[in-house]
């Protein structure tokens, strides 16, 4: 880049290189009434790209339910805020870092984690739990192993150093992600409910302060990169990758929270995608004011940076704040104590314009409002995804043996243990992890509120979404509801991260629309509004999109941590029951894919009324202290769930099909929704009575005990064999063995 890019005359070509369409460029000319210079063009392109403007998704996002009496702040701020009682609020959000993690897995994933934590502590919350959703290409694909290794070490390196426990997530493999892996990071924080900080910057004359790391030429155009479809030569481009510095972020966290405990901040915004541009425009826009920025005052890591570069740099670990004028000295002292840069880089002005100067010259002068309000908005054409046929249980061949099918499933890439991953994450720091990774939802004890629990989970089943985006969207929400209910938590709210292909293709857009409709319906029915989220489009390579992956993150509350349930059996001679029943649905199931080698059929339908009834019933039983062992049935069906329960406790079980209405493999491996397995002392009759009264099917499957799993009287599978199979796949794969 030459010393002064503003000497370059902007042409429609240059605008196109910035990802702006001819219409969009024409609109820019109309808004400012002249040709923009390059810095101004850069600012427009950053604000108007998909990542910042949500131009393809906004019309649909508006249809999602976002409110409830306990929602303090819904979408639109850095993170969603929900009242959790006792004067506290949970602040949480999920965000994608897909493209950067494919280009440089360790740093890409690390900076994704750093970014989402900043979103949470910007609002005044101390992060207390991290989660991550990872979707990789086929295990056989040449790049997958390297990506898994890098992404996991990157996530660990950042969260571990920050001292925030990484307590859960989801990991799966599918060839559709070969050229576009997904890395979605979620962070949950806790703040005093009456001390939430927002981005709006109102007061005219107030100082605009830059804190954190210095600005370098990191990731310039990163935000645009996140919205550009990959093609074969992307791997050649290798743009300036951002390197994370978790140590600096830890200092930034402590310094911000220390400052927030004083009464100094008017508005605060982290610098994420499109750095200084996005943060300054958003703060000014929300405060209905203008902003005067002096770039010479910006702390810089490299010499000779231009206005263009300074405005678009995505250097990490930086924040922009507007302070009460009288608070400047105190704030400076706090940041200096934490050895961080602190610089007054501007003032709030009343003209409604963003005026950027450098070297004594105005480098950009733009009206703030149109940068966000007049951002393009597209109602992209979309095609309804064709319905797939239902596959009847009888049409799917039985396995040679149920035992072998079970071992194949729990030793498969998608169902085997994730221990190799979560043991690289410090999931215990802060000392409040009550339920560790490996169960349904993770549970932490709320700081300073002994006995009060916060349950967190993420879920989505992309192969269902591929088969039927609407049902898949419903299912993603329903499964988080189930994971929370299974530990006895009252579901409160959700965040989403919508990962799809190119929205300009009507078929892809159709999957997006279908999924949103499904999510919305489920969130309404289950009373779990979406309070924050993120959209990641263009996840495709050479015209092939990833499976639609509308990832859901959810939180729930446990009022009394003495009344919760765990996945492991609580003892021997307990009666095992299945709550909910089904038709042995095998369409789009893992059994069909892994054992029968077919990826087809409609996914299991989600009956939201039954979902709610069953979930409320289990939770009620857990809250009443009657159930302490529970696991929901998801991927792989009932038998996989039973195996996981046995392994979690080291206690075996003997189970049999409670009726002969279905083929055995359909009963044991069917993925019908809205079901749980529980184990209780005694014969389970009380539970069955209560279930009957609540309209919930409750079938006795068998008893716990011994050190093997015995199914339908077949030869027992020892827990040792089960464990080796379940625990073996991922470590062996990562050690280099063929998938």
């Amino acid at each position: 880049m030459s010393a002064d890019p503003n000497t370059i005359r902007v042409t429609p070509n240059i605008a196109a290189e910035h990802g702006l369409t001819a219409d969009e460029y024409a609109k820019i000319l109309e808004i400012i009434g002249r040709e923009p210079n390059l810095t101004e063009l850069g600012i427009f392109s950053a604000m108007w790209n998909e990542h910042c403007s949500y131009k393809s998704s906004r019309v649909w996002l508006k249809t999602l339910p976002t409110t409830a009496p306990w929602v303090i702040c819904g979408p639109g701020e850095n993170a969603g805020v929900v009242d959790i009682g006792d004067g506290l609020a949970a602040v949480f959000k999920m965000e994608s870092h897909n493209h950067p993690s494919f280009i440089e897995p360790h740093q890409g994933a690390a900076t994704g984690v750093g970014g989402i934590m900043r979103d949470v502590f910007t609002m005044g919350a101390r992060p207390v739990a991290n989660l991550n959703v990872l979707r990789f290409g086929a295990p056989e694909h040449a790049k997958t192993r390297y990506l898994v290794g890098g992404v996991v070490s990157g996530i660990g390196s950042y969260g571990n150093c920050m001292g925030v426990p990484t307590v859960g997530g989801q990991t799966s493999f599918h060839a559709s992600y070969n050229g576009n892996n997904l890395v979605n990071a979620m962070c949950v924080g806790i703040a005093p409910a009456d001390r939430i900080f927002y981005a709006a910057a109102g007061a005219i004359g107030a100082p605009v302060v830059y804190v954190g790391s210095k600005t370098g030429r990191d990731g310039i155009h990163g935000a645009s990169m996140a919205s550009a479809e990959f093609n074969e030569d992307t791997e050649e481009k290798r743009p300036t990758v951002q390197v994370g510095d978790p140590f600096t972020e830890k200092l930034l966290l402590e310094a911000c929270l220390e400052l927030m405990a004083t009464d100094s901040i008017i508005g605060i915004q982290d610098m994420g995608a499109a750095g200084l541009t996005c943060s300054s425009v958003e703060m000014a826009d929300k405060g209905n004011v203008g902003m005067d920025l002096d770039l010479d005052a910006v702390p810089q890591r490299e010499a000779g940076m231009s206005a263009y570069e300074l405005m678009l740099s995505e250097s990490q670990e930086r924040m922009l704040m507007v302070l009460k004028p009288e608070a400047e000295a105190q704030a400076r002292a706090i940041f200096e104590k934490w050895e961080l840069d602190f610089a007054v880089v501007g003032r709030i002005i009343d003209t409604g314009r963003l005026v950027v100067s450098k070297d004594g010259k105005v480098q950009a002068d733009l009206p703030v409002r149109p940068l966000s309000d007049e951002a393009p908005l597209y109602n992209r054409p979309w095609n309804e995804t064709p319905q797939r046929p239902l596959i009847a249980a009888g049409d799917v061949p039985a396995p040679n043996s149920i035992n072998d099918a079970l071992l194949n499933l729990i030793g498969s890439a998608d169902l085997s243990s994730r221990r190799w991953i979560f043991e690289q994450y410090d999931h215990l720091v802060m000392g409040r992890t009550v339920q560790r990774p490996g169960g349904d939802a993770a549970v932490i004890e709320v700081p300073d509120r002994p006995g009060k629990g916060l349950a967190v989970t993420t879920d989505c089943t992309p192969r269902y979404c591929q088969a039927d985006p609407f049902e898949g969207g419903k299912q993603a929400v329903a499964e988080t509801f189930r994971n929370l209910s299974a530990v006895g938590a009252r579901p409160l709210a959700t965040t989403d991260c919508l990962n799809f292909g190119n929205p300009e293709r009507p078929d892809v857009m159709g999957t997006f629309v279908g999924a949103i409709k499904g999510l919305g319906e489920a969130c309404k029915a289950l009373d779990m509004p979406i309070v924050s989220g993120n959209v990641s489009l263009y996840n495709e390579t050479n015209g092939k999109a990833v499976q639609p992956s509308p990832q859901i993150g959810a939180i729930g509350l446990i009022d009394d941590l003495d009344r919760t349930a765990r996945i492991g059996f609580g003892g021997t001679q307990h009666t095992i029951l299945m709550l909910g029943d089904g038709v042995g649905h095998l369409g789009a199931s893992l059994y069909l894919r892994e054992i029968a080698g077919r990826e087809e059929g409609a996914p299991p339908p989600v009956d939201l009324a039954a979902e709610r009834r069953h979930g409320d019933f289990v939770r009620g039983q857990i809250e009443a202290g009657k159930v302490t062992c529970c696991h929901d049935i998801s991927d792989g069906g009932a038998l996989v769930a039973l195996a996981e329960m046995a392994l979690a406790s080291g206690i075996g079980a003997s189970v049999a099909m409670p009726h002969e209405n279905l083929p055995h493999h359909a009963f044991w491996f069917g993925e019908d929704q809205g079901r749980y397995i529980v184990a209780v002392e005694g014969d389970g009759a009380d539970l069955q009575d209560a279930a009957n009264r609540a309209g919930v099917p409750a079938l006795v499957l068998g008893m716990t005990g011994g050190d093997a799993l015995t199914v339908d009287g077949a030869s027992p599978i020892s827990l040792g064999t089960l464990r080796e199979t379940f625990e073996g796949w991922l470590p062996r794969y990562m050690a280099g063995e063929p998938a």
């Binding site: 280009i103 440089e104 360790h106 740093q107 790391s213 370098g216 030429r217 990191d218 290798r238 300036t240 990758v241 951002q242 390197v243 994370g244 510095d245 140590f247 600096t248 890591r301 490299e302 250097s315 990490q316 050895e339």
Partner: protein, 80 residues
């Protein structure tokens, strides 16, 4: 034959370690320390005795494993 591979971060890539070391040297009272960068050296013993072939082999190792060419540069030195 012995090979020595120097791996350094590309110009412009943030080096958090170097930054922290520079800072720490400052607090220890060392003055006049400017930019600090941290890199790696990997020393390998090779059975190969032909210099050209050894270099080609180490080059391959760097590309495939030793260096992260997205953010790092490498330089190879050989000693008989």
């Amino acid at each position: 034959m012995k090979a020595r591979v120097h791996i350094t971060l590309k110009h412009g890539v943030l080096d958090p370690q170097g930054k922290a070391i520079g800072h720490a040297l400052g607090s220890l009272g060392f003055e006049g320390v400017g930019d600090v960068r941290q890199g790696k050296v990997i020393e390998l013993e090779l059975a190969e005795t032909d210099e050209a072939r050894a270099r080609a082999e180490v080059e391959q190792m760097c590309q495939k494993l030793l260096a992260n060419t997205v953010i790092e540069n490498y330089a190879i030195e050989l000693q008989a």
